[in-house]
């Protein structure tokens, strides 16, 4: 773990990368916006067609590049726009989540949520909750590649 990271947690703000499926969760995010809900700006969303598109390698890359938490969000099981994408990702990401925990990541660092396009409130809540949990945990040094920010 990079020592430098833990020194100045004072002004530290976590970086959370969220992968959202286009049809449900991203739209849920849009609804949160349209409804002027607020949630922390720490979360930055990457739009993907389906939670089935989420390759665990994307998640690890985010950790390498300094993400403090990663949240994948997709349609509720049964509601997948592509029928089975979230059923597939449920298995894949469950196995993967346990693996990253086994590697020593705190369980909160990687989460998966089902958020429908009508759940703007849930979107905002989940983003807030994730941010708060990560704030409580502190910066993630695990797997962070110190070289990424070494020359800016």
């Amino acid at each position: 773990m990079s020592a430098a990271l833990n020194d100045n947690t004072a002004g530290w703000e976590p970086l959370i990368v969220s992968f959202c499926c286009n049809w449900c969760s991203y739209a849920g995010g849009d609804l949160a916006g349209t409804s002027r809900m607020t949630y922390p700006a720490n979360v930055k969303v990457i739009r993907v067609p389906c939670s089935g598109r989420i390759n665990p390698m994307f998640v690890l890359r985010a950790f390498q590049r300094g993400a403090d938490g990663v949240l994948v969000a997709g349609c509720h099981p049964g509601d997948c726009h592509y029928t089975s994408g979230n059923y597939q990702s449920r298995r894949r990401l469950s196995a993967f989540k346990r693996l990253v925990e086994f590697a020593g990541f705190e369980p909160e660092r990687f989460e998966v949520r089902w958020i429908s396009s009508s759940e703007g409130d849930k979107f905002a809540e989940e983003m807030t909750e994730m941010t708060e949990k990560i704030k409580a945990l502190g910066p993630n040094g695990k797997m962070r590649d110190a070289r990424w920010q070494s020359v800016i």
């Binding site: 070289r147 990424w148 070494s150 020359v151 800016i152």
Partner: protein, 338 residues
């Protein structure tokens, strides 16, 4: 200058020497012994024969960032890496130092010299430890490696009845022993025991082999020998005389760094070119390259076979394809058959 120290007191010596810079010595890491920087409480192991991986990474690190750069608009600023800091390498066996000599030829003697390597060599003080007993994989006898003497070492050391006897061979070596000060007792009265170490006897016929191989590039031996090879590259990574590397960049829009790291001729991508053409497309060509390099090309340029008989490839190849098998196949039956 000869000094002696009781083995129990070695941790104190480590501590003192590590003030000179990181002190690398054989450390028990779980099931294997590796050269690792010494830390308080490290489980050192001087009784091991050969470490799982040779200490070549002190001079040719597994990864070495040699420059950083910053990009601003159209500008590019190159920032060379910091100077190489001094280090101490303790407990290296003679065969590994014979191997370092071979790397020296490539990296320092051949034009242009490699400054990175050279600086690491110059800044490292080496304490060699003579071999007491070989393990069954050692076959350095075949290469006239003297287990009691190590070329180019700064200090020669020997384990002796619960003590370690140390003799400085160079000024750097003297400075090292002086650093330890009172910890070391005078050892001028002590004699280095003569060591006759009998290693595995494979009865290799090495004389004339490089010459013989000159026109055996298309030899049928190659059609069989490679078959079991997985192309895993372990043999090259654990071999003290292998030295290929790769250069890569890591960075983003604002800057980054360039490093070199170990690479291996056993990998498919090693020689692959734009458009997919690969001069060494298969395992056969790669196995041939590895053994030809050791047994013919290196000798042709530097006058000696690039193997010291450390036995690491015999121990580590997952399918037990090693240089002895290659030499036997090339020098034994096949020659007569042809």
């Amino acid at each position: 200058m000869k000094k002696i120290i009781a083995r129990e007191k070695l941790p104190e010596l480590w501590k003192s020497l590590s003030e000179l810079g990181p002190l690398f010595l054989p450390v028990q890491e779980g099931p294997v012994v590796l050269f690792q920087p010494w830390q308080e409480g490290a489980e050192t192991n001087l009784d091991t024969t050969n470490t799982a991986v040779p200490p070549k990474d002190l001079f040719l690190p597994r990864e070495e960032t040699y420059m950083q750069y910053r990009c601003k608009g159209k500008e590019l600023e190159v920032i060379p890496a910091e100077e190489v800091k001094p280090a101490v390498l303790f407990g290296v066996h003679p065969c590994d130092l014979y191997a370092v000599e071979m790397l020296d030829k490539v990296y320092m003697e051949q034009d242009p010299p490699d400054e990175l390597y050279k600086k690491r060599r110059e800044n490292t003080t080496i304490v060699a430890l003579s071999c007491a007993s070989p393990d069954p994989f050692c076959f350095c006898n075949d290469f006239d490696v003297n287990p009691a003497e190590a070329p180019g070492t700064d200090v020669m050391a020997q384990l002796k009845n619960g003590s370690v006897l140390l003799e400085a061979k160079t000024d750097k070596g003297k400075a090292l022993l002086e650093q330890a000060g009172d910890l070391l007792e005078d050892g001028s009265g002590e004699e280095f025991a003569r060591r006759e170490v009998k290693t595995a006897d494979f009865n290799l016929k090495l004389d004339g082999l490089p010459e013989d191989l000159k026109n055996r590039f298309e030899d049928p031996v190659w059609d069989e020998l490679f078959k079991s090879c997985l192309g895993c590259g372990v043999c090259t990574y654990v071999c003290p005389t292998c030295y290929c590397f790769d250069v890569e960049d890591f960075g983003h829009e604002a800057g980054g760094e360039r490093f070199r790291c170990w690479d291996s001729c056993m990998y498919g991508h090693f020689t692959e070119m734009a458009g997919g053409h690969n001069p060494r497309p298969g395992r056969k060509e790669r196995v041939r390259q590895r053994f030809m390099h050791k047994l013919r090309y290196y000798p042709e340029t530097f006058g000696q076979i690039a193997c010291v008989g450390c036995g690491r490839c015999l121990r580590s190849c997952p399918v037990n394809l090693d240089i002895v098998q290659a030499i036997q196949a090339l020098g034994g039956e096949t020659v007569e058959q042809r």
